[in-house]
Symmetry: C2
Subunit: 245 residues, 2 copies
């Protein structure tokens, strides 16, 4: 039987790696790295460094380009599903052609494989025989709240985790809302009365943290975001919106 | 200046520890361990083991009993706030009496310090001068979804994190609801049509995992929960409720 490890590697700080993840990296015979165009060099380098630090030679590294996703269509979910099927084909090729029976392959996933990541859903589509195991990772959510030294939750109260797209459409659905994947600064229009804890490139040397009432810091965040995105070519950010009592 | 590190140590598996957390443990001169009565021996042992594995001798360990919380009152939030103030006094004593200027103290927090944990809120109440830093940890949420090999989120959809108490009162507020702190098996009455992914003592040798339609597995979970709680004297569990399309 072939075995696949889906390893959460944390939000960007190499020290976010858990001992469990390091042991999983050490157990792998082959790694599949799938990277996006613009973020490729930074993100790929961090993964190569982790493999070099914790892998057990000899190991093989297979690199593939992330399939392009259609970002022009309004049918977001359908576009993601098409893209995911193309990723599934990449995973299937890796398991079929790059792993021998009895070997272990590894996929390194930013943050935690459970949070807005398509790897597990894509693996469910593939047609090869393999066992798999998931290694939890430090999410950008935990990295964000740690750096701001605030709780994600308050006593006995819920927190909603959602997307920028949904925040723009629905507004804040709870007093505490954690927003991911927001390319459009939706907080400004959707939650002017909230407090925001915003962070980008969490855990990396490029980390940016801004917090304050949305009405006061929205412009700062917008400017910091645009500037960083232009400079680096990509951005990963997230934020917590909190309605104070 | 005195320094305090609030260190997330993961959900129960010593290998959930991150390299960042291990370095933070190595940097501490003194540790404060506050433990609950019944869970004391198991949970305290795991923390002692982590300190022994990663601490830099000589270090000091201060152990305090967790203040009793009034579990009979219906005023849940008020009871938690009273209890938290008593914990704040313990932290204040630790910073004031156990740390010299220039020294570093550490608090080891299960899971992640941001998720339904009172340490940060209690520290905000204390009256001593100190710097503090928060180290993110593997949450029981990430441990749960990893062990069940499912995503916490689905494409473009929100997930709500809430308490058993709220689930019982409000029912599921989204198609995906992650429930913590549920002592009363609220899933059975609140979400009979959902799929449940349940886990207890995640990442430990006592781990129990059960999943399936709530209507089919509710009795199994109830029985497993009662049995484990009776046998060990305490339980930590969590679950994801998912409405399938």
């Amino acid at each position: 039987m072939k075995r696949l490890l889906i390893i959460g590697i944390g939000a960007g700080d190499p020290d976010h790696l858990t001992f469990q993840a390091a042991k999983a990296i050490a157990a792998a015979d082959a790694f599949l790295l799938v990277d996006k165009g613009t973020a490729k060099s930074d993100l790929s380098r961090l993964r190569h460094d982790m493999i070099a630090a914790h892998g057990t030679p000899p190991y093989r590294i297979v690199e593939e380009d992330d399939p392009e996703r259609d970002r022009t269509t309004p049918a977001y979910t359908a576009a993601v599903e098409t893209w995911r099927s193309r990723r599934a084909e990449i995973y299937e090729r890796f398991v079929r052609d790059e792993l021998a029976d009895g070997e272990t392959g590894a996929l390194l996933v930013w943050g935690d494989p459970g949070v807005y990541d398509s790897t597990l859903a894509a693996l469910a589509e593939i047609d090869a025989e393999f066992e798999h195991e998931v290694i939890p990772g430090i999410t950008s959510i935990a990295a964000l709240t740690a750096r701001h030294r605030v709780g994600l939750t308050r006593v006995g109260r819920p927190v909603h985790i959602t997307t920028g797209r949904r925040l723009a459409a629905e507004g804040p659905t709870a007093d505490d809302v954690l927003v991911m994947l927001d390319a459009h600064n939706s907080f400004a229009g959707a939650a002017p009365g909230h407090h925001i804890y915003w962070g980008a490139y969490l855990g990396t040397p490029d980390e940016i943290l801004i917090s304050g009432p949305v009405s006061e810091v929205a412009d700062d965040i917008r400017a910091a975001r645009a500037d960083a995105r232009a400079r680096k070519g990509w951005i990963m950010d997230t934020y917590l919106l909190r309605r104070e009592d």
